[in-house]
């Protein structure tokens, strides 16, 4: 145990790691592997969308007309801002600026709320018009018989993304509380770093979802 004693004062170091550095590297490697599986999960939906878009271009164009690019663009800006505050939050944790770190994380959380609020308005409008996936579709003004497929993709892709936003917000709330208790510093900020990477991935996926659904149609 003598070699481990130099770190024994640090309660953040799990006993099966040699050093905080090793622990940080292992955690970050794990987060990146998880992000790779996330990319492949969303990737399957993107591939499906592109293939069916190629098969029924007019139907997808009709579906895209029901989306409001203004709301999509606003949500893009909200998520970009949240990515900036998240990255700043990690940096403040790295540089022992506790108050700024908590503020940055709280702003990131509020951006998540704003995103979901706008998403709620979009969803309730679609539900009101009967623009729903598969057999739930009940819009009588549809020009194309299989327009329900467009909204299957729309709700699967944005719904899976929104569930990631909610998960990300829970994680941000968790690290914000821990940060406010002063549990992070330049030696140990692994949870903030990992949550940050996850949040940036949520932003990254929206960067592609926005043009795919709202602009290209």
């Amino acid at each position: 145990m003598s070699t481990a004693n130099s770190h024994s004062h640090n309660s953040n170091l799990a006993h099966h790691f040699k050093s905080l550095d090793q622990q940080f590297d292992a955690a970050k490697l794990g987060v990146w592997l998880f992000l790779a599986t996330e990319i492949l999960m969303f990737g399957g939906l993107f591939v499906g969308y592109i293939i069916f878009h190629g098969l029924y271009p007019e139907m997808f164009a009709e579906g895209a007309k029901h989306l409001d690019w203004r709301l999509g663009a606003t949500n893009t800006l909200v998520l970009l801002l949240s990515s900036f505050t998240m990255a700043s939050g990690v940096q403040y944790a790295q540089t022992n600026q506790k108050k700024k770190c908590v503020t940055a994380l709280v702003i990131t959380f509020l951006c998540g709320c704003a995103f979901l609020l706008i998403k709620y308005f979009e969803y309730s409008h679609k539900i009101h018009d009967g623009l729903l996936p598969g057999k739930f579709f009940s819009n009588h003004e549809a020009e194309h018989a299989n327009l329900a497929m467009y909204f299957s993709f729309y709700f699967c892709m944005t719904g899976l993304h929104a569930s990631h936003v909610i998960a990300g917000m829970c994680l941000i709330a968790w690290v914000a509380v821990r940060a406010s208790k002063g549990q992070f510093n330049s030696e140990f900020y692994t949870p903030v770093e990992g949550v940050g990477l996850f949040w940036h991935l949520v932003d990254l996926i929206w960067i592609y979802l926005f043009p795919l659904l709202y602009l290209v149609g």
């Binding site: 990146w32 690019w69 790295q94 602009l215």
Partner: protein, 112 residues
């Protein structure tokens, strides 16, 4: 880990200045405005099939900036970049084989 970079914490992690993050945010906002401005439903700009190409090119530039700076791949261990690229590689494999399958199917119009 010891790159001798001046922006490093004492245990070797890269620290990106907030000003750099702010610059990237500014560029991302500009690119978002640009991608909206050249979209057919917004401005009527019609470049045919190229509309989609332009939109995804801009999206990829934005994604690259998020990955390099916000997610720190630019300064990070190369293993993280390798994991990311391998995910994208297998996504391309999935896409290519699906497209080759669907679009090379022969539509049977008659029963011979």
């Amino acid at each position: 880990m010891a790159h001798g970079d001046q922006n490093q914490a004492h245990h070797g992690h890269h620290i990106t200045p907030i000003a750099t993050y702010a610059k990237i945010l500014g560029l991302l906002v500009i690119l978002t405005i640009l991608t909206v401005a050249v979209a057919r439903p917004v401005s009527g700009f019609d470049a045919g099939i190229l509309n989609a190409g332009i939109a995804f090119l801009i999206a990829s530039v934005k994604a690259a900036m998020v990955l390099a700076i916000f997610m720190g791949l630019k300064y990070d261990k190369k293993i993280h970049l390798a994991i990311f690229i391998s995910a994208v590689f297998f996504l391309i494999v999935m896409f290519t084989f699906s497209v080759l399958d669907i679009y090379t199917r022969i539509h049977v119009e008659s029963t011979l």
